[in-house]
Symmetry: C2
Subunit: 440 residues, 2 copies
Amino acid sequence: MNIVLLSGGSGQRLWPLSNTIRSKQFIKIFKTEDGRYESMVQRVYRQIRKADKDAVITIATSKAQVSSIRHQLGDEVGISLEPCRRDTFPAIALSSAYLHDVAGVPGNEAVVVCPVDPFVEDDFFSMIKALGAQAEKGEANLVLVGIEPTYPSEKYGYIIPASKSGISAVTTFREKPDVRTAERYISQGALWNGGVFAFRLRYLLNKAHELIDFTDYDDLFSKYETLEKISFDYAVAEKEEKIQVMRYKGEWKDLGTWNTLTEAMQENAIGNAMMNERCSGVHIVNELNVPILAMGLHDVVISASPEGILVSDKEQSSSIKPFVEKIDRQIMFAEKSWGSYRVLDVEDRSLTIKVTLKPGNRMNYHSHQYRDEVWVCISGQGKTIVDGVEHPITVGDVVTMQAGCRHTVIAVTELQLIEVQLGEDINVQDKQKYNLTETS
Amino acid sequence: MNIVLLSGGSGQRLWPLSNTIRSKQFIKIFKTEDGRYESMVQRVYRQIRKADKDAVITIATSKAQVSSIRHQLGDEVGISLEPCRRDTFPAIALSSAYLHDVAGVPGNEAVVVCPVDPFVEDDFFSMIKALGAQAEKGEANLVLVGIEPTYPSEKYGYIIPASKSGISAVTTFREKPDVRTAERYISQGALWNGGVFAFRLRYLLNKAHELIDFTDYDDLFSKYETLEKISFDYAVAEKEEKIQVMRYKGEWKDLGTWNTLTEAMQENAIGNAMMNERCSGVHIVNELNVPILAMGLHDVVISASPEGILVSDKEQSSSIKPFVEKIDRQIMFAEKSWGSYRVLDVEDRSLTIKVTLKPGNRMNYHSHQYRDEVWVCISGQGKTIVDGVEHPITVGDVVTMQAGCRHTVIAVTELQLIEVQLGEDINVQDKQKYNLTETS
């Protein structure tokens, strides 16, 4: 099975756990059988692998999410990088070109497209496998998943199937309705459109060439910024006549707000938290290493991260966006492909961070024009390269780097550094990367 | 006027803003006319100075609070140090001996004793001045303040005066009653006993010598630990026949819980905080430098510090003590006479803190047996002394100190350091102090 996971999201509705570089799909909130926590993207990835261990999984996403994806899923997952945001049709066209031209997937194979963050049971992905097989048969150009509605939702578009059978032709589509209209659709047998569908790769590439003037993946990538923002539904699905829907009866949740997210939590608290017996309907997610104590609250969500603290009535938690937009948000923590960092202290002319490198990993070899840096190693072993000179580094070692000096650190075991940045103008843009082999 | 302020408190009921070294009286929560915030002890100190600019103010307290007092009130205030906690009679005896033997206050002068943390208007301290004058007259050995009750409180003992006049003899005392009994007392003209009283210094010293075998201040100090725990009310007041009460009609609040403390706040939020228009009766005190967002809450207090986060229904905020006792509380921030520090990061074998020294101040000259330390200067100018060798220090300078090495830093301007502590056993007890003049 070839599957493309569309990974977008701005991260405001699940503040403070999500931020401009960590979208909601990267929050580790689901407890696994072995007691660890996994994110939505890790959960979906694990579920796909369970349904089809040989699945070719590609994530279509922007540059901002690449580090988080590599950190959480490792190096095996394919990434179709979007140079900028251009809605779903360009994203699917680009990832289809990527699959064909870069990953070498033949044109007659089926590709399934799915959002990266549905909260579903494992059987959903067995159904997805059947969806791909159905598309490969060629009875239709496009096979959609239609989810049997459990309530008259205003959040989904609806698919009107021609029949009640497991696989049916599609009569028509309906835009997101109000509740009363949704009730009418449902009484007429309508299904939710969750944005999951399959096609043969050749079909989509032909559609892409019809609508976009490009030669191959590299060409499409280079002109991506010039493409029109247009959704796949509008550009393709709603115009396609040879189209089917595969019915799915099972849990399907879009965990886009704190209210819906806490419904999917197995426990009332994650992280260091206490609540008295007079709390009811309280959920706490605490990513800070200090305790949260809740007393006598009802239907409240409390969420804390290095970015801030939210305390919200659950119903009203869907309205945080305008407030979050006002917050001047320095990124206070981030997962990188090589490990992670957390900001410990911010002053006008200094920034102190804690850097954790995974064993065998290293930072980019880089320099800063406008700041000096000091590293103090607080755990682990590794080596530094500073202006081409290699040195071992271990607990207690101090490395000072003037502005302009090229540097990196390579972890042998897990390695932790306190990094003090010093300068008049400290910002993440002040970074020049170098190829390590050329210089060391 | 000589005034002794009794400063005790364990700091659990106002967690997380109070901790084992910062009692509630040091929380900066009251907005001053110039827009800054002051603590209860700063407010009371300012109010006393306003009523009597020449007042001799002495704070009777334990060692744990000395740094906070010096940090908040400076070097002028007298401190009668209690070697350990021994209830109010020993504390008043010791501070009386201190006033007589150390501060040179004559025995015929009046001394007023007052808790350090009543929330009162300025006129209370004008009344206090009159209280001292009344004691000096010698009509009675002890003159108490009787506060006109505003509700049948269970938190106070009651004084039954002989008459309704401004100054009256005391008929008797009553223990803290239940509400119905309190109502009866009040209907009989009883007054609250707020623990404020005055006596001539000689009177109290004589009482002390009657009940304790000691010669002078130094002797009393040295045997303080052997003294019986006994309250002033029980040892002296309830047995005294020549006793008067001075009536006070005005605001008197004991801000001992979050619920009562928030009643005295002029604003709904202190620190980085936002709330939506559907919040009512919400108070936020945020000492962290990340935002708190409250949505749709009612009658809730939110308080955040480097020690933790409390979110509590106001009524139930008085019940946090058993929960706070369970928290394993590493001190995460502290005010010292020379400045302050805050813990930034805790690992098994390292601790990273941020140290701020006030201009002209310095740490003790000290060493650690079991940990190495690294300083990175992030702002200001000063000098370090390391094993007797002096060096200037400024932004970007790094100082490494092995275990056993003697060190201090002296701030010329305000100076900030990131200090990384490294060792298998990092604890605050591992500190050997030295006299700087002998070694440098």
